[in-house]
């Protein structure tokens, strides 16, 4: 398992070979507020990087979540159905969204590491 990588849309991805786990960042959950529903993709769906694959509903509004990388969805986090607030309490661990078999692992290498993402977030807040 590699360290987490991050996108400018505030998603994270962790990769082990070509198997990846994806979620939204702690910063993102904090900005969205109380999350009451997460619409996840179907297992087996082939997604292209950048395509809308999930919808996160907070009390206030619905937000799209985009595919961090291209590949095939292999598993979704069923726990979010009964307890969407897991995304608030554990965004970067138990609150993961879906697992992906990567079709182009190089896409992940181009993403930000933790330091770069922190700097990106600090820049957004300034």
């Amino acid at each position: 398992m590699t360290a987490l990588r991050f996108t400018e849309d505030h998603e994270w991805i962790s990769v082990d070979g070509t198997a990846a786990t994806v979620g939204i960042t702690d910063y993102a959950q904090d900005k969205l507020g109380d999350i009451v529903f997460v619409e996840l993709p179907e297992v087996g769906r082939v997604v292209a990087k950048g395509e809308a694959v999930c919808v996160v509903e907070s009390v206030k509004a619905a937000s799209d979540v985009y595919a961090v990388a291209s590949g095939t969805v292999t598993e979704i986090n069923g726990a979010l159905e009964g307890e969407p607030a897991l995304v608030n309490s554990a965004a970067e661990t138990d609150g993961w969204f879906y697992k992906l078999e990567l079709s182009n692992p190089d896409e992940v290498a181009a993403l930000m590491d933790e330091d770069a993402y922190q700097a990106f977030v600090d820049g957004a807040e300034a």
Binding site: G33, V55, V59
Partner: protein
């Protein structure tokens, strides 16, 4: 509404909101707290639940307080409001609305008789300019329209609100739902009403702007009281089945369509002597084509404002006017304007959300029972 951050006004309590970790949003020309820091007991759901179990303090100073003063001011106001003002007891409050010529709701408001010839209106922030223009244009020149920019408005709402405030000034114990009085808070006499926008017992307090900070500090010193923002205010009022102007009601929606006919007493229906009376009277007699209802969508996904609704045959049924998630029911709830023949309990309509059909059951309002302190109970 796109508003440049720098053009926004703020209330006199802004520093206290910031110190409590508020997240601000632009709202009706003001920079207002939508919620407070989740790491310190804030967040819309937590603030909502706190209001239903303890007491929350809301800064609603963006709303307009307008005094109507003059000989026969009540009679003059009756031309603009379909409430029974002329015989309204001193110190009582009513829910009413300004109607246009077609019976549409220019704004909804609270009207309190403070003195024989002094009436106080609390109006929506977004409609302030339009309301003032309408009032000035339609009231006799002898009746003064006085915006009270020297007052801040805060709401203390929740089952503990009565005990908290009575602990500071026992005089509030004499007040029941929709009654007005005064209380001495931090040495300052303040006008207050026992009412609000959450469905809970509580108060709206008009505070001199230079005393608002000290009085807010006094209220918050009670451990039963926490700040709550506009986010929780919206989910609370939706659970309580209370309309939000500009969403559920507006200049194109009449009180009959909005199921607010209860706010027009018999004498005013019979008299038909207020602006908009004839179209409203006709709808009371003949029924309206559309009606505001509560909806309980199936599943957990909120069905949002402007979502289209369909009947069993797939024909247009209406539109969602407010939609969110109820923290108390842990389920989505909504208000919708639907065709009158579909506005029946347990009627199932279909909402189309992101290409998926969600069954929505027409449900009685309020979604969560009101817990006002009524004299009769």
């Amino acid at each position: 509404m796109a508003e440049a951050e720098s053009d926004l006004k703020q209330t006199v309590l802004a520093d206290r909101h910031a110190a409590a970790g508020a997240r601000f949003v632009p709202f009706a020309g003001y920079r207002m707290p939508i919620q407070y820091d989740p790491k310190r007991g804030g967040g819309i759901v937590e603030e909502h639940r706190w209001t239903r179990t303890q007491a929350s303090l809301f800064d609603v100073s963006h709303m307009g307080i307008v005094d109507i003063v003059g000989a026969d001011a009540g009679q003059a106001l009756e031309r603009l409001l379909p409430a029974a003002l002329a015989d309204q007891p001193l110190g009582s409050q009513r829910y009413s609305f300004l109607l246009n010529q077609t019976g549409g709701i220019i704004d909804d408001l609270m009207v309190t008789r403070l003195e024989d010839n002094l009436w106080r209106l609390v109006i929506n922030a977004a409609n302030r300019a339009a309301d003032l223009a309408w009032l000035t244009r339609n009231l006799d020149p002898g009746v003064a329209v006085e915006p009270r920019d020297d007052l801040s408005l805060v709401a203390l709402q929740g089952p503990a609100a009565g005990a908290v405030l009575a602990g500071i000034d026992p005089a509030v114990d004499a007040l029941y739902f929709m009654q007005a009085g005064t209380a001495t808070l931090a040495g300052t006499a303040c006008a207050l009403t026992r009412s609000g926008y959450t469905g809970e017992d509580g108060f709206e307090l008009a505070l001199p702007v230079d005393r608002a900070g000290a009085i807010a500090d006094l209220l918050l010193a009670d451990e039963r009281v926490r700040w709550a923002g506009l986010g929780a205010r919206d989910t609370l009022r939706l659970e309580a089945g209370l309309c939000l102007h500009g969403h559920d009601i507006g200049p194109e929606v009449t009180p009959v369509e909005a199921a607010l006919t209860w706010a027009i007493p018999k004498r005013r229906r019979a008299g038909q002597d207020f602006i908009g009376a004839q179209p409203v009277y006709r709808q009371i007699q003949d029924g309206a084509a559309i009606r505001l209802v509560g909806l309980r969508p199936e599943g957990r996904a909120p069905v949002r404002e402007e979502t289209d609704l369909f009947d069993a045959a797939g024909a247009d049924a209406g539109t969602v006017t407010s939609g969110s998630f109820s923290p108390m029911l842990e389920a989505p709830i909504a208000l919708a304007l639907v065709k009158a023949d579909l506005a029946k309990p347990d009627m199932v309509l279909t909402a189309r959300v992101r290409g998926r059909d969600i069954p929505c059951r027409v449900a009685p309002l309020p979604f969560v029972p009101h817990r006002y302190r009524r004299r009769t109970t």
